[in-house]
């Protein structure tokens, strides 16, 4: 068997191999999946706000936010559990960072309700 | 009698001039005339053959600027 094969022969072999491996059902399922992926991709890429969100992922602020999240997660894991109860809650609420986070959540739910 | 029905099948490949003529013949009234325009070489022989076989009448047939004109009268 010669190791030199033309592109045409490679294509022919690929098609024959694919033909032996695939069934009509497999191709139909693949077609179905491509159909659904295309529809989802179309919806996502044509949603202006979602695209804005995607653009944000490239910004320095976004990188900083991810960084902050990982730092916060680390410190949460390391910090001792709060004592709980009203006293514990008031203590947490007093933290300016927690107040900032709550404000952000509040604004978000206000937007959703608009 | 109403005006001649023009069936312009120039530069059409599918369903093609004869099939267009048959469709239009079915919709026409007995006694009406149809003028078929065709550029398809293959169906040039089929069209008169079909008309004769079915028993309609070829009123006129000529070629002008590479376009075949066949005028048919619906007999039945």
């Amino acid at each position: 068997m010669s190791s030199e094969i033309t592109i045409q022969e490679q294509v022919d072999r690929f098609m024959q191999g694919a033909g032996d491996a695939l069934t009509d059902d497999t191709v139909a399922r693949l077609g179905f999946m491509i159909n659904e992926l295309l529809i989802i991709a179309d919806r996502v890429t044509r949603n202006k706000n979602f695209m804005k969100l995607l653009e944000m992922t490239e910004s320095k602020d976004f990188a900083k936010m991810l960084d902050s999240l990982s730092v916060a997660y680390d410190s949460y894991k390391k910090s001792p559990t709060t004592s709980g109860g009203i006293g514990g809650m008031l203590k947490v609420m007093g933290d300016p960072d927690v107040q900032g986070a709550l404000k952000l959540l509040g604004n978000f739910s206000k937007e959703l309700n608009k | 009698m109403s005006e001649r029905i023009l069936v312009d099948a120039k530069n059409t490949f599918c369903p093609g001039p004869l099939m267009e003529l048959i469709s239009n013949m079915k919709m026409a009234e007995v006694g009406e005339e149809l003028e078929l325009l065709s550029t398809d070489e293959g169906s040039a022989a089929d069209i008169p053959e079909w008309i004769n076989k079915v028993g309609h009448e070829i009123v006129d047939s000529f070629k002008e600027d590479e376009v075949l004109h066949i005028i048919v009268k619906k007999i039945k």
Partner: protein, 375 residues
């Protein structure tokens, strides 16, 4: 500017979505509006019926909700049009609503009309509605051998279907192990076995190889039990008659005197209804001498989408429909090919391959992305 699309089949759906994408700014501002009126809240993938008839596809795969296929900016109503008042740019719907428009697009489609040939509906199997396709499958399952005749009426939807159903029937009988008990006879209205000459030149020797007999210039005149008679004074006896029935446009088109047989006289390039500048026609509804096929509706919808959007945005259309048609041809035995042509270029189909059969199989499931105007 109010654009009214009448008909929610392939042509109407692709056109409405295409317009909604192109005019998204105008729709948001309210300077344009797109309304679609359809007879059903479901959208059917019509080419699937051929597969249902031979047990290759299930009926549940044929349907999606029409609303799920439309851009959300399209105002969709299940309320078919009953009256067209083109002098006053308005239509009246079944529910009695009067709707005015600036631009009207008619895409009501066509339907099998076996009743046009005496005895055909009673004595044949066909596959142009879900019920008929299912009924055909059930009849095939009970068939144990004998004379099978394939007969085609004119005009018909999907010019490839007479050949495709023949090759599928051969596959079906072979699979059931009764092919040796079947005499298959193919008839066709014109002087060769298919309207496209290269396709006919390929199919006739295939028939010879498979032992399928054929008769050309055969137009059904009447069907009596066990026998189909032709306009050409010929006949064919059958135990099972499979038909591609003659088609008509929708009744509403005839009732409103818009065109003979329900097909509207249409300009072949601009696609406007003859004599009406603001009325466009697409898909099977036109009287154009081109294939009544989904791809025709698709390419017409794209040309019209571009033109109507240009009219809204800059007052003038920008291009002509070039007559493009692309048809897959299922050739049986797991192979397929395709034919593509337009007003200027004849088709040049190549030998069928299994790759193209997979492409068609995948496309059967990718249709919905096409209806949404993505592919």
């Amino acid at each position: 500017m109010h654009i009214l699309v009448v008909g929610g089949g392939m042509g109407g759906t692709i056109l409405a979505n295409n317009l909604a994408r192109r005019l998204s700014g105008e729709l948001e501002q309210g300077s344009a509006k797109i309304t679609m009126l359809s007879a059903s809240d479901k959208h059917m993938y019509q080419p699937g019926l051929l597969y249902v008839a031979v047990g290759k596809m299930s009926t549940s795969e044929l349907y999606r909700d029409q609303k799920s296929l439309l851009e959300s900016s399209i105002d969709f109503h299940v309320d078919p049009v009953e009256k067209f008042d083109m002098d006053n740019n308005s239509v009246t719907t079944k529910s009695g609503k009067k709707i005015s428009y600036d631009i009207l697009c008619i895409a009501t489609g066509s339907r099998g009309h076996a009743e046009g040939i005496p005895g055909l509906a009673e004595h044949s199997c066909q596959f142009y509605t879900e019920a008929d396709a299912l009924n055909m499958y059930k009849t095939l399952q009970k068939f144990e051998g004998g004379k099978v005749v394939v007969a085609t009426g004119v005009p018909h939807k999907c010019p490839m279907s007479p050949l495709e159903i023949t090759f599928f029937l051969i596959d079906y009988f072979k699979k059931r192990g009764i092919w040796d008990k079947v005499d298959l006879h193919y008839t066709y209205p014109i002087g060769r076995v298919h309207s496209l000459e290269p396709v006919a030149n390929w199919a006739a020797p295939e028939f010879d190889k498979l032992g399928v007999t054929y008769e050309t210039l055969f137009n059904m005149k009447e069907v009596v039990p066990g026998k189909v008679l032709s306009e050409e004074d010929s006949s064919a006896e059958f135990d099972l008659l499979v038909t591609v029935p003659p088609h008509k446009g929708m009744q509403v088109i005839e009732d409103n005197d818009l065109g003979k047989g329900g097909f509207i006289p249409t300009d072949k390039k601009k696609l406007n209804m003859e004599g009406r500048e603001n009325v466009y026609v697409l898909g099977d509804t036109t009287n154009l001498p081109i294939s009544k096929a989904g791809s025709t509706a698709h390419f017409e919808a794209e040309a019209l989408g571009e033109n109507i959007a240009a009219i809204v945005q800059q007052g003038e259309p920008v291009r002509d429909y070039d007559g493009k048609v692309f048809c897959f041809i299922e050739a049986g035995d797991g192979k397929a090919t395709y034919a593509m042509f337009n007003y200027d270029n004849p088709p040049n189909p190549q030998a069928p391959t299994s790759g193209l059969h997979w492409f068609k199989t995948a496309y059967n499931r990718m249709y919905w992305a096409s209806a949404r105007g993505i592919i």
